[in-house]
Symmetry: C2
């Protein structure tokens, strides 16, 4: 048993995007870095989030195309295809994790596999199976321990009937029917995934619309798209109770939809609900690191209540995006090496990888109207976009919201092909103050999906070239 | 027979992208507009170029995915799939052409179907089947008559053995083998298309590399990709002669590759060679409009040698891109309505819709080195990009060339997934002087292909996050 103190410039707890990005950045800047991981290297994103779900969604959409092509004669093939999809997901995980291992090795980051807990604000103990295996002393410490699902009293995960996304990624068979609790981005992505495989899906959301954080127009249109794909959507709905019917191999949900009782019987329930910072076992009180609600409290420099301790990523809340964690890591490391830097969340893209895709950056139309009184809206439908027509992928639109006086872009909202990529045109315009009027100066290649962004810009002034109007 | 003079503010000859965009723009600005089309409404782009080829390439890539998935048991299905692909192409054409008809009607643009020829610099005669059907008088005239293939003496198109892209779009069967003369973007796109359907393709290029106008690195890598897909690539090669072997239902090409004689026997030869301005029948001398080589000569205001006559699009040469024609149309119309405007071709994206895609904007590495002496190069491979891994689409890279002092982006070259969309990030950066250093400020969504652009920017300073190095 190793118990001497090992000294590092920086100790990082958690190897997900916030942790590994911070580790690489700080090593690039010459710090000696310890990285502690209690579970899977790469955290949620690489092992149970972004990467595997993108593989699943991509493969499922291909299945759907195969199916539509009329070339699949034997519907039973779906089962072997599903198995292959799961295998491809495992392959993708292996590749990104092994890539990360190489990166860490190259940057000479010391990896410790075990649970971290604070002894005091500069001393972190690493335990495995309850035993202390290392004591690390760090001049500075960064917590990037991620988040875990919050339990819902009326639908507690049991791993068989009521599952979380972790269990889902281990499924070996396509469920015959599924209810999803949580109609945010992840809920909608999983609904999309199973719909491609023909699974009847029920989507349950507490708020009065699915995708409550996205622009209302996209949220409304997305509901229509899901319903067209035979997803049952319940909004303003709470789960009152769940009852396993062992004999029927099914589970009965009792719902309260705006005061009306409804029941739904399905094979499995997937809970994609709220999350809380994963601080269990960290012994934060020994480090004098304060929480705010379910998350670690940080200032705009990503510093916690203890001056030498920073926190970034899901454990600080404010949205669960890997790129938010990367960004916060960059800010934290800047401050750690003495280059003052503050976070600014104004221009963070949000992506939905369903089919169609959707994305958003900046203010929704409602938020912009509330703040500015009046705004300009430029819109362009993909059904008028040459590439969308050529590729038979015409659902959706691009919507640019801008301020009236100088044409400053306030928000960009996209539903449709490539939405998760095109959103970066808005990121660039917003960050570098390219007004909607300035977009006219650009030359967009024809035919591309990107032209829909350009045409939405032109439409702000009634100058779109290919606009279909009533 | 209609022979009275009809008067318009602007007469436009040709309804392809240059013509129809100019018509819509000038009508939006209040001009009365006549649009003359002798063949298909929408010109080459809508009927025989951009749109139909994108449908073909998209459907072919899906076939290739189906095929790779191992779910297609009967190889004979390829023939019915090919037929469906051709039908989808016709559907796409019908949709874009009918969209264009609506746009023209809405803007009250008067369409004349027939051949235009100048009587004098303000009078254009429209003929159909040799008979005069209209006489149009225009204060200003814009020529957007497009381009047509130049005949090659040693491989004259006969529509059966030696075909052009027009004939190709009417093919009813997959040829058993094909030679393509011309290894530029279009030649490579057609090679890609037929390769997906398992056709052995021979690609013949006169220059010492295929894609001679793209960055050398992309050109070299693309050759490797084609060869991996069993395309035979001949560079520095001229066609000496062609001989139809009726009995064998094949055609024999004799080639001269750097002085060495080679022969190739194929079912069909596709000629995708040089083009010249389509000015036949226009009677340009009556309008005192001068040519320069094969194209109409224009100044930076898009004005021809006759002050009231403008020309835009393929008929002026300088590259054959619909978006170049849109842009030139915008400049011409600005000048026509009295708002002085000059073309600047510095930031025009070029797209290759093969698989993988490729794109380019600004200077190639060689051009930049020649002009600046030394430059910075930031590069990022898609095999280190999370989304590319998740979706199993990892071939290629992003390369950003920038000037050393201020980090001004000089060129962007992409090979790989979404290249034709991602290129617009470079268009925006170059046009709005966002230096490669400024890219660091942006937050790119994870996981996206766009991140490869961001990481290439970071790599300029050795700061890429996910860079795999040797």
């Amino acid at each position: 048993m190793e118990t001497e103190h090992k000294k590092f410039d920086l100790i990082i707890i958690g190897s997900g995007p916030g942790g590994y990005a911070s580790a690489i950045l700080s090593a690039q800047k010459g710090l000696s870095v310890a990285l502690i991981e209690k579970r899977d290297l790469g955290g949620t994103c690489l092992n149970r989030g972004c990467i595997p779900t993108k593989t699943l969604l991509h493969e499922a959409s291909l299945w759907s195309l195969f199916n539509q092509s009329g070339m699949i004669r034997n519907r039973e093939e779906v089962h072997s295809y599903f198995k292959k999809t799961m295998e491809k997901k495992d392959l993708a995980i292996r590749q990104v994790v092994s890539g990360l291992q190489n990166l860490l090795a190259r940057e000479q980051i010391t990896l410790f596999r075990g649970e971290a807990s604070f002894h005091n604000p500069t001393l972190v103990i690493v335990k495995r199976d309850g035993e202390v295996i290392d004591r690390l002393e760090g001049t500075q410490i960064l917590i990037a321990s991620g988040a875990v699902p919050k339990e819902i009293e009326t639908s507690k995960r049991d791993g068989q009937w009521i599952i979380g996304s972790d269990d889902l990624l281990r499924l070996e068979e396509i469920p015959s029917s599924l209810a999803i609790i949580g109609g945010g981005r992840r809920g909608v992505e999983f609904a999309t995934f199973f719909t491609h495989f023909g699974v009847p899906v029920t989507l349950i959301e507490r708020e009065n619309r699915i995708l409550p954080k996205m622009d209302r127009e996209i949220s409304v249109r997305y509901k229509g798209i899901l319903m067209k794909n035979r997803v049952k959507v319940f909004t303003e709905t709470e789960v009152l109770s769940t009852e396993v019917l062992e004999k029927n191999r099914s589970i009965l949900l009792t719902l309260n939809q705006k005061g009306k009782k409804e029941t739904v019987k399905v094979e499995k329930v997937l809970v994609v609900a709220e999350r809380k910072g994963d601080v269990e076992g960290l012994n934060l009180t020994h480090a004098e690191v304060a929480l705010k609600g379910d998350f670690i409290s940080v200032d705009p420099f990503m510093k916690t209540s203890m001056p030498n301790i920073y926190a970034v990523g899901d454990v600080v809340g404010r949205g669960f995006y890997a790129h938010k964690a990367f960004y916060e890591g960059r800010v934290a490391i800047d401050n750690i090496v003495g280059k003052e830097s503050q976070v600014n969340y104004r221009v963070i893209p949000i992506c939905l990888y369903g089919h169609p895709e959707a994305s958003s950056v900046g203010m929704t139309e409602e938020e912009a109207l509330n703040q500015y009184g009046e705004v300009q809206v430029g819109k362009f439908p993909f059904m008028a976009c040459g590439r969308a027509i050529a590729e038979g992928n015409q659902e959706g639109m691009v919507k640019i919201i801008s301020e009236k006086k100088y044409g400053e872009v306030l928000g960009l909202h996209i539903l449709g092909p490539m939405a998760t990529e095109l959103v970066h045109l808005g990121v660039m315009a917003m960050k570098h103050e390219i007004g909607v009027e300035d977009l006219k100066e650009l030359i967009f290649a024809h035919p591309t999906f990107s032209e829909a962004f350009f045409e939405a810009g032109l439409d702000t002034y009634g100058e779109a070239l290919h606009m279909m109007k009533g």
